[in-house]
Amino acid sequence: MASFANALQSQVGRKILTGLTGIFLTLFLVAHLSGNLSLLIPDGGEAFNRYADFLHDLGPLLWIAEIILVALFLIHAYIGISIYRNKKKARPVDYKYYKSQGGPSKQNFASKSMLISGSVILLFVILHVMHFKYHLFSPETYMTSYNGEEMVDLARHVEVAFLNPWIVAAYSFVMILIGVHLKHGVWSAFISLGAKNPKITPVLYVVGGVVAVLLAAGFLLLPLYIYINGGLS
């Protein structure tokens, strides 16, 4: 039996972990997106704020979830980076001429830029958390109340942020990068996790692309809507 620690050090073990963490991160994005999209319900941000408040009230459960999420990010990023470091070691003298054969090859802009897209995402996530959770760039806190229930008006917070063209531009850029990351990532994760029916793998590649586009588009929808609409409603 391969011990778990060994497995973490083996290429195959590592790859399975990238896939697992990648998939969970993707699922997190899906959850995050559905939360975000509740902002589009024309209720003055109530559903969204309640959702945020509900999460907040989970207390320790939320911490655990956050810790898991951070761990996922860290493991995923750590392995991703180490894959690239190994790559340099495995071929110190590079080809003078190198070309992809095409055909079944999945070498493309997306797959070749995983480290870059990933790193930008990492940077973004840190800033993003600081921005919306710790209010780094917008120190004022908006409050609202529904039926007497006092809570943070996160919706307003978001609205304000996305009325700023710089934030919208930067945010959109990163959302596109997430799409790019996932274009290769989703399919790749399936293969990492053992999708091996040759009839299905080409389908998975398409599915990966569709998921990537949907997620990116979903995340883009909100800022663009707010910015173009000049506010939430």
Binding site: A2, Q9, S10, Q11, Y95, K99, Q101, K106, Q107, P198
Partner: protein
């Protein structure tokens, strides 16, 4: 694809005197290349010309020239085994080039495949991966009747799809990470399809993967470039199979 029978080509060939030499490209030009020639026959002609001038011929590996032994290993115009899909360098013919083309030729490049001379590299790392577990432990003379265990045609065919790997190493050469996953996966996948060797399945995948790590190959990023250059079209589903086998080995 050239319609002419005779073309001339310019070659940029990697020359390296030994493992410690830095290496360089040298330019040669060949007039009168018959397009029915194979690529290696074209190199034969180059070497004949060089030797007629008492110069050092270009060293390259080759043997069967039928695409089955896995000896030939040339990166032609940036692609291991050259531009034709599912074709080993020895089966590539000059009709796929045009008059006046410049063709670059480099060796496989990977830490695990050190250059010996010019275009010749050391691929013994593959042997060591095989020695780690790429076999069924059965001593000579101990076998039951061949038909004693029926194997469905589908499984036998699928095993064969993976078994045809010629061990050339193009997958490593083409992989941006220099991963040997396709080679290793092909053997693991072949044996995972057959009842023979099932008892040592877990041990096998673990040992082969461990050895692959030790040899200094890179990780697999599922680029599938390996499948694209593989002269026998081994599918990366073999890599996926290696991973599921590995997980099974881990949790048992």
């Amino acid at each position: 694809m050239s319609n002419k029978d005779i073309i001339s080509v310019n070659l940029k060939v990697w020359r390296q005197d030994g493992p410690n030499d830095k290496g360089r490209f040298e330019d040669y030009s060949l007039k009168e290349v018959n397009t029915h020639m194979s690529f290696l026959e074209m190199l034969d002609v180059l070497n004949e010309n060089l030797m007629k001038e008492q110069k050092q011929p270009v060293e390259f590996d080759h043997d069967c020239r039928e695409g089955i032994c896995g000896s030939c290993n040339l990166v032609i115009n940036g692609i291991p085994h050259g531009p034709e899909a599912r074709t080993a360098a020895c089966q590539l013919h000059m009709r796929h080039f045009n008059d006046g083309d410049t063709i670059t030729i480099e060796p496989w490049r990977a830490t695990a495949f050190p250059v010996i001379k010019d275009l010749v590299v050391d691929r013994n790392a593959f042997d060591r991966i095989m020695a780690a577990g790429g076999y069924v432990t059965v001593a000579t003379g101990n076998a039951p009747d061949a038909n004693a265990i029926p194997i469905s045609k589908i499984d036998a065919d699928s095993a064969m799809d993976y078994a045809v790997c010629i061990g050339c190493g193009a997958c490593v050469a083409a992989c941006p990470n220099s991963s040997a996953s396709l080679f290793t996966g092909a053997k693991v996948a072949q044996l995972s399809k057959l009842p023979q060797g099932a008892p040592e399945r877990k041990q096998r995948v673990k040992a082969m993967v461990e050895q692959m790590d030790k040899e200094g190959f890179g990780d697999c990023s599922n680029f599938a470039e390996c499948e694209a250059v593989c002269p026998v079209g081994i599918s990366i589903t073999s890599i996926a199979t290696m991973r599921t086998e590995y997980v099974k080995a881990m949790f048992s």
